[in-house]
């Protein structure tokens, strides 16, 4: 097996940010139906080992392509533009200020056990994230502007994390 093969090539999909997720799922299942270790439970050790490697690879590829954020990071990596999410924490000041305001609003609503407000924040954040992904699609698929895409990816990591935290707060208040 060619482990150097990229995740898009594995499923025969074009290397784009916009992916038909239903089609991706179908292709993933088709590949797993061929390579899953359960298909080789009565085979020799060589087959078993290969099946595990292939199946692991298919799982990893599917996981990466299914999530828009992971997919964007992966595309940047393929294009040789590491978004350096761990080292590059520089953000535009207005974005950071905005994030702080968001965070305060979430903490306030959580402490007040205000489910309606948390729901509202959750909805607004999802809308904002969705707009960001549209911009990411433009930057990656239309303009090949990797620097802009890397900036968006770094911002989205903040936003996705915040969305998750609003979910946690909702769960905590609901319980």
């Amino acid at each position: 097996m060619d482990f150097g093969q990229d995740h898009y090539a594995l499923f025969g999909l074009p290397r784009r940010f916009v992916v038909d997720t239903a089609e991706l799922e179908r292709l993933y299942r088709e590949v797993q139906a061929r390579v899953h270790p359960d298909k080789f439970a009565d085979a020799g050790d060589a087959d078993k080992r290969l099946a595990m490697q292939w199946s692991t690879h298919a799982n990893e590829a599917y996981l990466t392509l299914k999530s828009p954020l992971k997919r964007a990071q992966y595309l940047l990596q393929l294009a040789g533009h590491d978004p350096q999410v761990e080292h590059n924490t520089a953000m535009p000041t207005d974005f950071l200020v905005e994030q702080m305001e968001w965070r305060e609003a979430v903490i306030e609503a959580r402490d007040a056990a205000d489910v309606a407000e948390l729901d509202h924040l959750h909805h607004r954040m999802r809308k904002e994230i969705s707009t960001q992904y549209d911009a990411l699609h433009q930057a990656l698929d239309e303009r090949a502007d990797y620097a802009a895409a890397a900036d968006l990816v770094r911002q989205l990591m903040f936003q996705e994390k915040l969305l998750h935290e609003i979910g946690d707060a909702l769960e905590a208040v609901d319980a």
Partner: protein
Amino acid sequence: MALLQIAEPGESAAPHEHRLAVGIDLGTTNSLVATVRSGMAVALSDDQGRSLLPSVVHYDGAVEVGFAAQARQSLDPRNTIVSVKRFMGRGLKDIAHVESMPYDFVEAEGMVKLRTAQGIKSPVEVSADILGALRDRAEASLGGQLTGVVITVPAYFDDAQRQATKDAARLAGLNVLRLLNEPTAAAIAYGLDNASEGIFAVYDLGGGTFDISILKLSKGVFQVLATGGDSALGGDDFDQRVFCWIIEQAKLAPLSARDSRLLLTHAREAKEYLTAHGEAEITVRLGSGEYVDVKLTTAIFSEITKNLVQKTLAPTRKALRDAGLAAEDIKGVVMVGGATRMPQVQRAVAEYFGRDPLNNLDPDKVVALGAAIQANLLAGNRAAGDDWLLLDVIPLSLGLETMGGLVEKVIPRNSTIPAARAQEFTTFKDGQTAMVLHVVQGERELVSDCRSLARFELRGIPPMVAGAARIRVTFQVDADGLLSVNAREQTTGHEAHVEVKPSYGLSDDEITSMLKDSFNHASDDAFRRALREAQIEAQRLLEAVQSALREDAALLSTLEKAHVENLVARLQGVMIGDDRRAIDNAMDALNKGTGEFAGRRMNQSVQRALAGKKVSDI
């Protein structure tokens, strides 16, 4: 389903040859063995028509398993091991209610052991004796030696508990085709039976474990989206509550081991009686001479077990959330495990999901039946159209200890298996040449709150300044949910490499020596059995290779083909003899010699799967 129209690499059984494969539900309270007969999954019964085998082993001179052992429970509690599943892969401090158990525990590294009249027994050995009884039953019923088994484990079992289960199977001389999660097994039995599509929850409350799994069933694929549970919560705990309630009501003095066991048995009977009745009369004459006469109503029973039922709903909420779903997205809730018969459990589940749970399959048998269907498929007994795929997950995150006793997660929970993930670490001191890797499992941030799986040392790191070394640690979880870890230092020109397979309580050497011991005891029998196992395995490998050659010889050059044929002939030559080592060696050679061929076939298979779906068509 159109998936199987071209021959599959794994599909090698000739249509006329049916391989003997069974599914085993190794339960806390009861165990079962089932098989697929004429296309139908059936539980196999003993000579008295009973399909349940109590998971009880009595040690005193002879080893008794099942009903015979259960009969000894009250008379000889110390040597009669019940609910041994609770001890699998567990240390003494992990086990609840130790004080009310009549056993003579021996604290041992990794896993607790029990001192019996027949010597010190590890839970793995006790489980192996239960598996052995089921194996004997299956072989008597099917009239031949088993090719392979699927053994079910609670979805929420961690690596230590899974490894212990697999070790027990090896000790019982079984070829494990797969460890299968219990709720997933139930979903297979239910889903195939009802041709279901959609998202289902499986609520599995067994004797000692609770699992909740959320699955998506569509077009022949069973995909587990999330799983959760509590590996120390089950019907036994309800017995325990009733037991404590009786002691309180009857104001009993501390009990002897025999009286404890006697009272627990009555508590269990009262619980079962309350499934269909409004109240249960509990009357017992204890060995101490005391007389117990109390009345337990369903209302009191519900009240004293309320928080146990609630304890199952927390993991249920978490699993739904992990799957990104709400209770109303669930199309049906399949009830599994004898403990789900309790009316208060049924009510709580119905209320939480806002729908009546599905009870149309026997909750005691459904797991074994699902395992039998999976075993049949894995053994290669595929019928036309009988192809479906199972995609399961790991229940608990796997990680490594980092500075300050914190956990760095490497593979998050609910990752589809098999899964692998690599992470890079570095040295923190100048000139550091070794590094200790501590592998843990669990969701908590602190190492001390997670389960320690293995510790190993990576040596031979070239001395460098702190932070310059690059140590790549790779976690691989296989389709049984078992982990292996591999670490490699990869600065230019220097490589160090170590591989661990965590094993608990029993090392490979211990298992080998136990197997040898059992061979010595019944040497001829055991020897023949081991030889026969090797021959079956060799036969399986030969069939797989020959079928591969028939289908895809074109992928080999003439020279390569001759080489493979040579190795085939060598194995054929030795497998009719009685030299087990020669058979093993020839199998090894054939396995190695067909590695490249297998790779080419796999590539071709994937290309075929995607063929006709060009980029332009998508």
